[in-house]
Symmetry: C2
Subunit: 677 residues, 2 copies
Amino acid sequence: MEVTRANFKDSLSTVYSAIEEADFLAIDGEFSGISDGPNVSALTNGLDTPEERYMKLKKHSMDFLLFQFGLCAFKYDSTLSKYIIKAFNFYIFPKPFNRTSPDIKFICQSSSIDFLASQGFDFNKVFRHGIPYLNHEEEAQLREQTEERRNQQANGVGSNNFISPPKSVTCVPEEHKDFINMVVEKVEALFTNTEKTVELEPCTGFQRKLIYQTLNWKFPKGIHVETIETEKKERFIQICKVDDEERKRREQQKLEREQEELNDAVGFSRVIHAMAKSGKLVVGHNMLLDVMHTIHQFYCLLPEDLQDFKEVTKYVFPRILDTKLMASTQPFKDLITNTSLAELEKQLKGKPFKSPAVDAAEGFPSYDTAHDQLHEAGYDAYITGLCFISMANYLGTFLTPPKAHLSVRSKLIEPFINKLFLMRIIDIPYLNLTGPDLQPKRDHVLYVTFPKEWKTSDLFQLFSAFGNIQVSWLDDTSAFVSLSQTEQVQIAMNTSRYAESYRIQTYAEYMQGKQRDKDKTGQASSHSHWGEDSWLKPHYRPLGKRSISPVPAEQGAGETSITDGWTHYAQEDSTGRKKIKTDEMRAQTYAGVVDSKTSEGWLKTQPTSDSPAVSPEQDTDGESPEHTEPTNADEGMETWQQPPSKKGKNGRKNKKRMRASGRIEMVGKGATDFRKI
Amino acid sequence: MEVTRANFKDSLSTVYSAIEEADFLAIDGEFSGISDGPNVSALTNGLDTPEERYMKLKKHSMDFLLFQFGLCAFKYDSTLSKYIIKAFNFYIFPKPFNRTSPDIKFICQSSSIDFLASQGFDFNKVFRHGIPYLNHEEEAQLREQTEERRNQQANGVGSNNFISPPKSVTCVPEEHKDFINMVVEKVEALFTNTEKTVELEPCTGFQRKLIYQTLNWKFPKGIHVETIETEKKERFIQICKVDDEERKRREQQKLEREQEELNDAVGFSRVIHAMAKSGKLVVGHNMLLDVMHTIHQFYCLLPEDLQDFKEVTKYVFPRILDTKLMASTQPFKDLITNTSLAELEKQLKGKPFKSPAVDAAEGFPSYDTAHDQLHEAGYDAYITGLCFISMANYLGTFLTPPKAHLSVRSKLIEPFINKLFLMRIIDIPYLNLTGPDLQPKRDHVLYVTFPKEWKTSDLFQLFSAFGNIQVSWLDDTSAFVSLSQTEQVQIAMNTSRYAESYRIQTYAEYMQGKQRDKDKTGQASSHSHWGEDSWLKPHYRPLGKRSISPVPAEQGAGETSITDGWTHYAQEDSTGRKKIKTDEMRAQTYAGVVDSKTSEGWLKTQPTSDSPAVSPEQDTDGESPEHTEPTNADEGMETWQQPPSKKGKNGRKNKKRMRASGRIEMVGKGATDFRKI
């Protein structure tokens, strides 16, 4: 169902009841851009901390507009054994409510706009008919303004608010005295003749102020004064002779009208309030940006601190699940080769999964997944919901007896709740909304600074003695270099002691320096988790028995596979600066670790040793084909690829490596829709 | 004629010939916003220097997108005694050309977008079908890239460019050796069998690089290698057996194709290049922002310095005329009460003006001014051209014998050439592109700083002893206060000596301080016109006899009329900050001055003493009705208005004052289209 400003008010009760009835809600947003700063690759460094990632997205993504919001409500009908769905596609635009309301400026990114345009996105619907919105603070301000104006305009008796402060009373300037006297005469005449109403000529705001003020003082009773706006937007004053009852009735009418205008201004935010209040499970795909934008536009400006963000997220989205994280986690990660939304949806149609049975509710158009309308937010929300159901039902097959339909309240889903997928962080698969984030030990990582002329090849040369390395560029003159063996770190540090052109620090030293800078500039957050030496402590280690990973051998394999299937790029863009992506890194090393950290209760109900391990896998197949090609797909670019030095220990691994080395993934500027991955 | 990406290439020759044939061109742009910083009122302080205004517009307006460009070519047909017009309405969008081309980010301002939406603006046409563009630097970079790629890909003999630098040659990694050997075998087979062509499977950019490199080395002659892109955007390599002639032919084809792609990327900028090259008179209405955006998007990033901006403007627009400046200048200023484009067009239909006779050229749709399509750039350009013709022809009536049609090369038009209207600067009506700007003496102006709680009323109270003052807000804690008499300045300074809550400087002191700060921070421009004491020198004075103003008495009147018709506002916006506009100030004081400074030759051909004076008048009637209403048009706002202390010396003056004091003009956030004024 398409919802614009034109039908929003009429649709609202339908939306509310859809939310109330639903078993769960799926959401998706479309934005006017992704990054106004670094390119997407730089925005998503593989060794970001969750704090860093949050800060980057907050800084570089929030000035874009979420201008389409998809909401799909799923309600399970147990008699029909199918889900009944109600999909809404809201067009959003911050149309200024009046002249004092905020005049929002938002950024558009050409590549994103071009991408949406190529998908048939209707910009006219957004800009002409988008639903307005206010965040809580703006709403409060508007309510206050309305209240103040009401007090100032109050007619007749009881308007003592108006008398103070006295300094807001304006003397009638000499040249307006005739005009005001004329108005007073007209009102006096009203009391002596049979007319009930007198309408004044359109006049200026200042003159209207004088009129209100004078009449309020001269005729504290018996009249009602109101400003009317003509179709031509001219404003004039209407004065009516009224008894006390009539006056009160009119006041009441005005109050209600104002209340309605206010609600109109709050607009789409009311839908978000209803979602939050419902406490329903909200499902999204790779939804960190959706969550951030939703809170930012409709709830409150994003807090500085990640911990505060988690708090506010828990309020707006009390129960949330990210299907990309779910698909990247065992038991799904072994079954799903590509977790981009479109591919995931396709794969979940085939064995061992089952397409869920769904029907559109009466009066709601049904989407046809065969002719997809990908990147329409309503459709994407719908697809996301389908993916969730397929995966959830698959978990149900592990129960004894197996269940074909798994309730959204099932314990089996709990491990995935309130964790948001983190794109392309090598060793931290998700943001944990209800607890501390994973703190992987990065003691094989070096922080290297060098002249701005250096390219990835220079770093490879520098570290050529160490076999495979992985480079994660930070900026033109610095990068993280991950070595394959922690023992090499000390050798590298010793070697670099006399170097002049470059400088090496351990990751721990680097983080300490950063923390010191932060403390110095007084920006240290009280919530900071990065203590002086916290990086040196063995924060987590596979805990053996606590891990429920069913194939212990694979954990070992995982630990060596850190050198497996890497692909590295460097390329000059048109400004001569490096555009780099280091992707393909698989989180195998930490897979078991993640299990052990996050598996308190994960799938504990699993009765058999065939139970699937729940450990997220990083996105290795994320890019849709048009995004995986090298930026400059002609042959002039510089490309590096290190042959993997170790083979995986089993067929699956091997296959993965082959696949990884058989293709080159790159995120250039064109990868505008990286969220959809 | 609507021009989008779809028909741009086919229309280009039509556009070129329209430009070449034209007597003059009229232009107009539509933008995605006006100000990303202060509100429009703060952006246009009444006492800005031209440098300050330029810097403000550069800083706060250039991140918006010019997304519709109107060009109307006017050609006078002397046999028909009418203009034949060709109007083009170009949709512009920086669609990324390829993955290395710049991914432009631009800002949208909700109020501007909403305003355009209400006028039926077609955003889908812009974003889906907009014509791309490159500025000169981007174009040069792209040409360089193409050149480099060409060298690297060069096939067979003569490709010695490829051999150096050797470090760009990549060793074939172990795991690709089988693949590359297979390719080599295929090519070898090509030489022994009857096939002419072999097509490889789609592969990665890295693999394609290896293939190019290997084949180039193994088969320096006899084959042509090319990357083909499928409809699905997959790239594969095609290898053809060719003789030398065929190879050259193919190389040539490829070269031409690349050249064409390059031209496509330069896109709309080619129209601007053609305009610049033609040297034709370009007419616009209130066109400073149009000129700045045009240069910024299609030519080069705007220079830091105003003087450099003037230089580049002279290159891109060698001959330019602003109809708003023309309409605000004698002899028109006495005849035209409202110089907003729509109003101007209406007024120029009536006496003493004459609607020009125009016909659309064959194949071009004609606009109907009765059913206007205002704010469509092509239409606005058309209307602007009509206004120019009407005013020019009116000047022709002063000739002996009078001329009904004035050529665009007439001397009578010279005084208006290469001067751009400056919105709402009290005493500098225009930016002079071909010489130094006017430097009015501002010795009646004080710079006042005060606590941020102060409002306009506090300033009026502070200066209540001095009669009328005019307040031009700078920010929350400072404003210019113009006194009506220069002699009061010293009194004010003396009085303020012991004040604690506020501080007063003369304008000269303020400017000196600013200059010192500028010098200190090393940002002093070598072109700076604001010398240490330049403000104290009587830079210009009416030069009596040199002035051709026909009513000398009026000059005197003008000098006192500085206190005439002022209107002052202050109002709290939703964020509690002051929104102020001081408008309505008429430039009468300087009118004569401007005459004398700018009238070298102005209308010198005028034979009679009835000759019209050429002196610009500031915009007193600029706002269209929907923009003149106070921001918060209800009665709660604070408004001040000082009664004028002196009456004008003649009826006209008096009438103007009355009108001015009878209305309140204000530019709030809603005044999104202030350029159209």
